[in-house]
Symmetry: C2
């Protein structure tokens, strides 16, 4: 079910990666991924055996690694490992492939990486629409400039807050979270990118406000520009998102999930547009 | 070198824990500890084979688990596992024992736990004195009340920011970090508790400001009260710490490390008092 691939991200070892037994443990309890959440990752959607937006994912992984002072990654090796994991998996319509780079086993000062593929669960409910709770993310949009050690915008393995946010949303009867900066701007979801339609403009949170660069945005912006709309990064308040002509949380595996409710406010949903956005993200346009 | 003990924190399995091979991997790449930093931990100092302050550590682990919506832990089983790990290790003067509780392997909805012991490295330099850089922690002291999903005060596995703070300190020529809240108060170190001496008063950051309850504070407060001083929780600004009559970062394994410099300000160091504080933490008083 989960072909695992252990890769040497800096390509010092030959072979650069090897297939490992999915049925046996693969990591040490002293791996810094498991003791400190000290590493970076990407989750890639694979549709009909084709990884979607793999290059933006690998580039974002490199960016995250740099933000965590990890060594430069050999992205070719990681791309080969992704291919190997996909090939090793039974062919299913939708896979998700996780790429993880850890700072390594404590005391060894040698980062390590692994890749694994798994059949995607059904995302039908999320794709139909999301009730979203707006939650304070605590830090301001200026954090990347003033306090880079807060790692805003790095996709690190330290996702406990993101997971706690999802549990809080569930307690509020919602499916998902939209994080809000302490200075009042909409940021992103715990594992998704915000897209908002205002008139003929499609907007997303600026990367320099401390969000991840959305790996689906290239495909999405190309689509909407092709349909005659504008697309841009722009800071938006929670109220502006709530008053918009539609909003989505974009994810590599769940695709474009329309926000039906933002806290108590109902948002318009355009099913046809949502389908086109999802097809663009999945590379099925 | 690292006897590992895998424990069932809810004591559903019998035996409740078992010794595992330190030489082979123990974890799955799909363990949420390694994919999301989604779990809690404690690091216990063991001096002359006696775990110091084990009860406060276990109580704090329970508190952290509750903050992360993990099931209630069976602390007796974990205490037995700590003893087993210490017994299995070669007798050395100073051990550190890590207790980790993970939300478990993704999709299995069953938390797991492990304990491992390792010989402590030399902390002579840290115990002699620390140059400390004050770094913004981004969030205010009100976060625990307003935004509990930010997990301020929970000892989660998501420590990437704490580790990034230490690298930033190193870039500044410092050894350690004192995190400052966005509303201007001294909080704690990335892996330590702040203790400040002002006249005849020993002060630490209030737990409700979003710091971890220091597991050494019971021993330390007992010592200083026995010597006729006051001891209390009190919010302090960075300036108040810099102007104090001495400050320490307290750690279960490094013990009482005096702050010699806070950014560019030199602080007084009382070696004899430091030694007494360290002995109290180690249970060697």
């Amino acid at each position: 079910m989960i072909p695992g691939v252990a890769a040497d991200p800096a390509l010092k070892a030959r072979p650069a990666f090897r297939l490992v037994d999915e049925g046996a443990p693969q990591l040490r309890v002293t791996d810094l991924a498991a003791t400190r959440g000290d590493g970076v990752f990407e989750t890639v959607g694979v549709f009909d055996s084709r990884p979607a937006n793999l290059t933006p994912h690998l580039e974002r992984l490199q960016r995250s690694a740099r933000m965590l002072d990890l060594p430069a990654l050999d992205l070719d090796v990681l791309a080969q490992a992704v291919d190997a994991a996909v090939t090793a998996h039974l062919p299913v319509p939708e896979l998700l492939v996780k790429i993880v780079v850890s700072r390594g086993v404590e005391g060894q000062a040698r980062p390590s990486a692994w890749v694994f593929a798994d059949a995607a669960p059904s995302y039908a409910a999320a794709r139909a629409g999301l009730r979203v709770a707006a939650l304070d993310r605590g830090i301001p949009t200026t954090a990347p400039q003033t306090s880079p050690w807060l790692l805003a915008g790095a996709k690190s393995l330290s996702y406990a807050i993101n997971m706690a946010g999802l549990r809080e949303a569930s307690r509020r009867g919602a499916d998902e979270v939209l994080f809000i900066s302490s200075d009042g701007y909409a940021l992103e979801g715990p594992t998704s990118t915000l897209l908002v339609k205002r008139g003929n403009r499609f907007l997303t949170t600026p990367v320099d406000a401390g969000v991840l660069p959305g790996t689906s945005l290239g495909s999405v912006f190309e689509l909407v520009r092709g349909e005659g709309a504008e697309a841009a990064e722009e800071l938006m308040t929670l109220a502006q998102v709530a008053e918009s002509d539609g909003a989505w949380l974009l994810s590599s595996v769940r695709l474009a999930c329309p926000i039906t409710h933002l806290d108590d406010v109902e948002l318009p949903v355009d099913r046809s547009l949502t389908d086109r956005l999802s097809a663009a993200i999945a590379g099925r346009k």
